[in-house]
């Protein structure tokens, strides 16, 4: 039996965990161009907010050590976002062990990204977008109702587009961003349809109730299963610049499958395998394109094209070229930087392979668990 913990200090910590990156991101986006003290502070607001989120997460983990061990859940209920019976969007956050681990991974990953952005002196808008994406990811992981989950998904698209708009080839930014938004738009439509199918079949959008109804096998369970397939496809059908944007949708799909495991477990194996392979293929295509063909100006893959060309590799190249080799730095400094550039290229390539390997492992695990059931 799961222990649900509901106390004021956890409430405050969970609220801070979601709100702090959001506020930091918005503050960072407000950075002006002039060299003022205010702008210098705002420029680093996103980084500070991510550090604060890390600290809050650490506090939550520390606080959990004082609770009874076991698979406990931290639970915060903020009431309803909006409600017209029977459609209710409740804002309830629930952190169990798995969600906590994922939150930690996301926060640490974003923190590393922000440190890299700060070192490279990247546009504050990109930093702000990354920070707000963190807030959206945390909401996606912690939300207990599918409407906030969908809201988090839908909010990520424009943020990825903003990040894409602010980096890479200036002449193509508009098209790239528009295509990112378009791809995400269709992903959102699929996810929305899936969500409505589940709601239409089961009459609820809350994870626990869905699980309970899935176990009870009502007559409308097939519709709900179909909805789950659509929802998972909608979550996975996304793209963006860089490797993170390529891998994250697939990871999100797997996480959502886990959350809806009682319902997903009813999906016939062949449908599940087709979906996993399709999403895996999409993800691999994203990664391959961002790693091996980072500077192409034409679309080579459907709906990907320029959206993924501003990968990490191109960023490192541009950074090293602009900041070091063209700035007339001291000759001695150049030697380690040449080595650094070489390492960056290797790292990028290796990371691409690692990404592909990771996706392969995820597919294998998904199919294994599915068949194992």
């Amino acid at each position: 039996m799961r222990i649900i913990v509901q106390s004021l200090d956890f409430d405050i910590l969970m609220i801070l965990l979601c709100i702090v990156p959001l506020v930091g991101g918005f503050l960072s986006a407000l950075t002006g161009k002039r060299d003022r003290v205010r702008n210098r502070i705002l420029r680093h607001a996103a980084l500070f907010s991510d550090i604060a989120a890390f600290a809050v997460m650490a506090l939550i983990v520390y606080r959990r050590f004082h609770l009874p061990l076991g698979a406990m859940q931290l639970f915060v209920d903020w009431g309803n976002w909006f409600s017209v019976e029977p459609l209710t969007a409740g804002i309830t956050l629930r952190m169990d062990t798995e969600a906590g681990i994922l939150c930690g991974i996301v926060i640490i990953g974003t923190l590393l990204l922000q440190i890299r952005n700060t070192m490279a002196g990247r546009d504050p808008k990109i930093r702000g977008a990354s920070s707000v994406i963190l807030a959206a990811c945390l909401l996606f992981i912690l939300a207990d109702n599918l409407i906030p989950v969908f809201a988090a998904l839908a909010a990520i698209a424009p943020l990825v587009a903003i990040a894409a708009m602010r980096s890479g080839d200036e002449s193509e930014i508009g098209h790239r961003s528009a295509r990112i938004l378009l791809t995400h738009g269709f992903g959102n439509a699929f996810a929305l349809l899936g969500l409505f199918c589940i709601f239409g079949a089961l009459g609820t959008l809350q994870y626990e109730r869905i699980a309970a109804l899935a176990v009870a096998r009502p007559p409308s369970i097939n519709e709900a299963m179909f909805g789950a397939v659509l929802l998972l496809l909608g979550v996975g059908l996304r793209t963006g610049p860089g490797l993170l944007n390529a891998i994250c949708p697939f990871s999100a799909t797997i996480y959502l499958s886990y959350r809806l495991s009682d319902l997903v477990g009813l999906i016939p194996v062949w449908i599940f395998a087709v979906c996993v392979i399709a999403l895996g293929g999409w993800c691999i295509a994203n990664i391959a394109y961002s790693v091996f063909d980072p500077k192409k100006t034409r679309w080579r893959l459907p709906s990907l094209s320029k959206s993924v060309h501003a990968g990490v590799a191109s960023f490192f190249d541009q950074y090293l070229d602009q900041r070091v080799f063209r700035s007339g730095a001291h000759e001695i400094i150049k030697i380690p930087l040449y080595i650094g550039k070489l390492m960056a290229t290797w790292t990028t390539t290796a990371r691409g392979w690692m990404g592909i390997a990771a996706v392969g492992v995820m597919i294998a695990m998904s199919v294994y668990f599915k068949v194992g059931r």
């Binding site: 017209v84 029977p86 459609l87 409407i147 809201a151 839908a154 938004l181 378009l182 969500l195």
Partner: protein
């Protein structure tokens, strides 16, 4: 004095006062009109949030039981009534007209006067309980709007003339249907409660015909595909501010007519008919989204996006479930704000010679940011009003009409693509700016945009403020619909049983009256 009467007459009074004052000082007229409209907004806001009005409550302050204009059998009872369903859309109409005045001072003063008259008529239509008065007010609002557009330039004469012809052609069916029902009823007045019994006396085929007549008139003003051509043409031809007011004053009233009059008036008409209307709206929505994708002009893309959102509201209305109808009313009440914001941005850019996108991003970053947020608000970014309206409408309609809702959802994705590419595809297409020198936004240009964006985000984060006013009225309306359908079934079933006593299915619930709503 009755507040609703005052609210209805106030815009016209403002117009007259402004016209009189402008004889003395031309600029004063516009400012007087703006101040009057802001006062009007304040009054409606006070009405909206001070207490919960009920449309059919006889104790309501606003009922005037005196016959207006004509007495006897043809009495038109001016009984302005309000509840959550019409008060918030009325507020939206006033706010959008005010915004149109803030951004556009083009055109002669008579044009402004006509527009204020159109606002008065729209408010009259929204508050009217009498069906004939509703039609008269709605048609007057459209006519005055068209005259107002015609006064802005000779080049618009052709489009306005065609619009007038189409108004007459498409407006006639509903008027004839109402007169036919009134003739059958034989009693005084045109109150829907009196007319509905007469409607049930017609044969099912005639009822279907009457409902179709309603749909033709109201659908052509929403505008629904395939009756949308003339409305789109006049919106494309006119300036963005006029297009905004056209949608805010006419389309809004037509959608309200579907909610208040068309659906409840024909309880015995087959749900299949309403499903067909909804399917038409959903398919039209997708069609309009695709058409918008191939348009280059930002104003044209925006016009189609407005039509898409209006069609989405119709999808919600014909679903007749509580979340869907509440979502449709929420869309009516709030969605125009995002359009107004983008429209104001277009006007501001037009005044600066339509600079290309990179110049907008470089020289006017705040404008670009506001435009981006407003566009995302239209397509339903979480945390804006669009998200709540879309989720409620689509989610509510999915339970009763899944295919229709799915089509509408895909259509919304299509229009999202068009709108998102709008800043890059359309801005700068007709660039007339020769230099990169672009004047900064003036306070009177930026302040309304910022105010609207704050409202959009605030209502997106706390939609309960609006939904709490809408929901009780929507609940009553849906309950009334269900009750009327039940009554129609009770009336119809004994007739069937007598016609065919051996039919074992006679006592079963007729399929056309199956209430799919939860």
């Amino acid at each position: 004095m009755r507040w609703l009467s005052i609210i209805t007459i106030l815009p016209l009074t403002a117009g007259v006062a402004a016209a009189a004052l402008s004889r003395i000082r031309p600029a004063t007229g516009f400012w007087v009109a703006r101040v009057f409209l802001m006062v009007l907004t304040g009054i409606i806001l006070w009405q909206c949030f001070s207490y919960q009005p009920k449309f059919d409550d006889p104790k309501s302050l606003w009922i005037i039981e005196e016959p207006l204009l004509i007495s006897g059998q043809w009495a038109m009872i001016y009984a302005p009534a309000a509840d959550g369903i019409n008060l918030l859309p009325a507020l939206s109409a006033v706010v959008l007209t005010t915004m149109a005045f803030f951004v556009s001072t083009a055109g002669p003063l008579s044009s402004m006067l006509l527009l204020l008259g159109a606002l008065s008529c729209s408010l009259g239509a929204l508050f009217a309980k009498d069906l004939l008065l509703f039609i008269i007010f709605m048609e007057s609002a459209l006519s005055l709007n068209l005259f107002s557009i015609a006064l802005k330039g000779r080049r618009l004469f052709g489009a306005v003339r065609r619009a007038f012809i189409m108004q007459a052609v498409t407006g006639a069916p509903m008027l004839l249907a109402v007169l036919a029902i009134h003739w059958k009823a034989g009693g005084p007045g045109f109150l829907p409660a009196d007319l509905i019994e007469a409607t049930l006396e017609f044969s099912p085929e005639i009822q279907l015909l009457l409902a179709s007549a309603y749909c033709v008139t109201l659908g052509s003003r929403v505008p629904l595909v395939p009756m949308h051509g003339w409305f789109m043409e006049i919106s494309d031809e006119s300036d963005p501010a006029s297009a905004t007011t056209l949608f805010a004053l006419v389309s809004l009233v037509a959608i309200y007519g579907f909610i208040r009059f068309a659906m409840p008036m024909f309880p015995a008409v087959s749900p299949v008919f309403w499903t067909l209307v909804g399917a038409m709206a959903a398919l039209g929505l997708t069609h309009m989204g695709l058409i918008a994708f191939f348009r280059r002009s930002p104003a044209q893309i925006l016009t189609r996006a407005r039509a898409v959102v209006a069609s989405l509201a119709i999808v919600g209305v014909v679903s007749a479930t509580r979340p869907a109808v509440a979502g449709a009313v929420f869309i009516l009440s709030t969605q125009g704000l995002a359009f107004a914001s983008v429209c104001m941005m277009l006007v501001a850019l037009d005044k600066r010679g339509n600079p290309p996108p990179e110049i907008i991003a470089l020289k006017m970053p705040r404008l670009a940011t506001m435009a981006f947020i407003a566009i995302l608000g239209i397509i339903g970014l979480p945390g804006t009003t669009g998200f709540v309206g879309n989720i409620l409408t689509l989610g509510g309609s999915f339970r009763s009409h899944p295919v229709m809702a799915a089509t509408a959802a895909l259509g919304m994705a299509t229009i999202s693509g068009s709108l998102l590419t709008l800043p890059w595809r359309a801005f700068g297409q007709k660039a007339t700016a020769t230099t990169v020198q672009t004047p900064r936004l003036r306070f009177e240009e930026s302040a309304p945009m910022v105010a609207i964006l704050i409202i959009i985000v605030a209502l997106g984060v706390f939609p309960g403020v609006v939904l709490s006013r809408i929901s009780p009225s929507v609940d009553r309306l849906c309950e009334e619909l269900r009750h009327r359908r039940t009554m129609a079934r009770v009336i119809e079933e004994p007739v069937r049983a007598v016609e065919d006593p051996t039919d074992s299915g006679a006592n079963k619930k007729p399929p056309m009256l199956l209430d799919k709503a939860p």
